[in-house]
């Protein structure tokens, strides 16, 4: 009869008890995005309660640009920035979206181990520094997007994090080692089909199901799939998976396990709630409002998608002066072939200029010059096409958990006298 948990230090306990008095002030704001102003108004007089071994939301958000970062829920912590705050070639770390399933762990990188187990010739275990030294270090800019990004655009709105149509994604630069190099070192046995990542994020209750997700071996062995320790040339922020995470570019974010401590090579998909209940879509589209059919499939690569990052919605634009509409386009697998803009609600479409092709899974910039010819409200629609001939629909197929919204993005501005 022993506990492996040390007693709470008095200071931590005091902080927690004081935090109780704060009464969850943030939660009182309901569904409203939490801007810096809102946070200031609702700021709890006392610190929030913090589970030992985890990071307070306040500490996570201190690293975010709260002039643009919107929090959707506190537990689990979720938040992102609107499309007009994405007008960067590379997503800055302080604007990268957050989607936790459980709490943010406070991991000691010096003690952290990554184990490789399962259908391998030799089980391996690495410290973080050992891992960096053992394999070639590579960097790549790559998309990360929550499966539920855009959920609020569906009607009826499915349950889950209320991401805006362009919320819950970003495209930073990642640095790490290739997952395939690590798998090769362990020796993948014949019969292996999937690789599962498990993260060290704790739940509030001891019975919380562990966050485990597996990906097919083919994606695990793709050269851009990384075990990463850096984002934008700096160590991963704690909320983004410090000290190690998977980066499975172009695929739904849940595949990119944060706080990675175990890789397990399996003979098929992992069976668990984050595979079998969440992150699934119907094999064939269902009627809006229907239940998940039995033949649902696990979400993998994102379909073609784009967003307009400039101008901002409802911006005032002077007439007679050229306006350059800017944005980003991306696709989970394949490449962006072209982007079109409509200024007449989809009646006609004109090609936008594409920026340079970057890393394989990076988003691609586009630009479109527009001369406002009349006063009043004017809209821009962006529609991207991939190299397989797939285009963004006006409305994405409804599904019970609200995944893969990729409907055309629409931004309206007000043309006013110069």
């Amino acid at each position: 009869m022993s506990s492996d948990r040390p007693p709470l230090p008095d200071a931590a306990r005091r902080r927690f008890l004081e935090g109780l008095g704060a009464g969850g002030a943030l939660a009182l704001l309901g569904n409203a995005p939490l801007t810096r102003e809102a946070l200031a108004q609702a700021a709890p007089a006392k610190p929030e309660p913090v589970v030992p071994g985890t990071i307070a939301n306040a500490a996570v958000l201190a690293e975010k640009d709260m002039t643009v970062f919107q929090v959707h829920s506190e537990r689990p912590l979720t938040g992102s920035v609107p499309a007009e705050a994405h007008d960067f070639d590379v997503t800055p770390s302080n604007r990268m979206f957050v989607r936790n399933n459980l709490l943010t762990p406070d991991i000691d990188a010096g003690q952290h181990r990554l184990r490789v187990v399962g259908l391998v010739d030799k089980e391996l275990s690495f410290g973080v520094e050992e891992l960096k030294r053992a394999f070639p270090n590579v960097s790549t800019q790559a998309m990360m997007e929550c499966a539920g990004a855009g959920r609020t655009a569906f009607t009826p709105t499915p349950r889950g994090t209320p991401w805006s149509p362009t919320g819950g994604m970003g495209c930073p630069k990642w640095t790490g080692v290739r997952l395939r190099d690590v798998l090769a070192a362990a020796g993948v046995k014949s019969g292996a089909r999937h690789v599962a990542g498990q993260g060290g994020d704790p739940g509030t209750v001891a019975t919380a199901a562990p966050v485990i997700r597996s990906i097919p071996l083919s994606k695990a062995e793709e050269e851009h799939t990384l075990i990463a320790w850096a984002m934008n040339d700096a160590p991963l922020p704690k909320v983004h998976g410090f000290p190690l995470r998977l980066v499975v570019p172009g695929w739904v974010g849940s595949a990119s396990t944060k706080w990675l401590h175990t890789l397990s090579v399996l003979d098929g998909p992992f069976k668990g709630t984050y595979m079998d209940d969440s992150y699934r879509i119907p094999k064939w589209p269902v009627a809006p409002g229907d239940k998940m059919p039995p033949d649902a499939i696990v979400t993998e690569a994102w379909p073609i998608k784009s967003m307009i990052t400039h101008p901002a919605p409802n911006q005032k634009v002077p007439a007679g002066r050229r306006l350059t509409v800017r944005g980003k386009a991306w696709v989970g697998e394949g490449s962006v072939a072209r982007v079109e803009i409509s200024t007449d609600e989809g009646v006609s479409w004109q090609r936008a200029r594409l920026g340079p092709r970057g890393d394989k899974y990076a988003w691609r910039s586009f630009a479109f010059d527009f001369e406002p010819e009349r006063f009043g409200y004017t809209t821009f629609l962006a529609r991207a096409w991939d190299d397989q001939g797939n285009a963004q629909p006006m409305v994405s197929p409804w599904n019970p958990l609200g995944y893969f919204w990729n409907g055309v993005h629409r931004v309206g501005v007000l043309v006013v006298p110069a």
Partner: protein, 200 residues
């Protein structure tokens, strides 16, 4: 190798459940069952996940089952009915009834057999104890009566149980750990221990 909870259990700091429930109580509309819903749901996630929803009973049931799969210890049948009644009434597709007192607070004690509005029951409820412990039958953890019986005549019982509540532990009753409790004051821990041992 993935089959057990042991990964999670060995690293989970699960102490502060009731504290979160308390901290998140305000946003839910008051009504019959609100206390139980706050305790069961607000322990793991903030209740904005409820307040932003308008779901049918079927959909709430589906969500409820999803939470069980994600690790919520399954509430009793009575508790389940109270929770779903509340959610469907106040966060359903129809206009909600007016806010009302939580007349089911006592009934919601349900499986635990503890009235959360009276005496030591208030402490046990606020401390999150009744999520796993009942008076006379095992739930996730042993019954209070069984704990009392085990420590009968043990001169060090008060110290042992106080330490167990404060710091958590595992192994006495099985592998499921008891999380440390940072919510309760020393005085409240003492009141609980006195009450448990007095059951002998």
């Amino acid at each position: 190798m993935w089959g057990s909870w042991s990964f999670r259990l060995s690293t989970c700091a699960a102490a502060l459940t009731a504290g979160f429930a308390l901290a998140q109580g305000a946003p839910l509309v008051s009504g019959p069952g609100v206390g139980l819903v706050t305790a069961k749901c607000g322990t793991c996630h903030d209740v904005t996940h409820i307040t932003r929803s308008k779901l049918t009973r079927d959909e709430w049931t589906d969500n409820f089952e999803n939470m069980v799969k994600r690790g919520m210890p399954r509430p009793s049948e009575d508790e389940t009915r109270i929770i779903l009644d509340y959610l469907t009434a106040y966060y359903g597709p129809r206009p909600p009834p007016p806010a009302a007192p939580d007349t089911l607070a006592a009934a919601a004690a349900g499986a635990s057999g503890i009235d959360p509005t009276q005496g030591v029951g208030r402490i046990l409820s606020a401390g999150g104890c009744t999520a796993c412990h009942a008076v006379d039958k095992p739930l996730v953890g042993p019954s209070f009566d069984a704990v009392a019986a085990r420590y009968r005549g043990d001169a060090a019982a008060t110290a042992k149980l106080s330490a167990k509540i404060r710091h958590g532990g595992a192994g006495v009753w099985g592998p499921t750990p008891m999380p440390p409790n940072a919510v309760l004051s020393d005085r409240e821990v003492q009141q609980i221990v006195e009450w448990v041992l007095a059951r002998n």
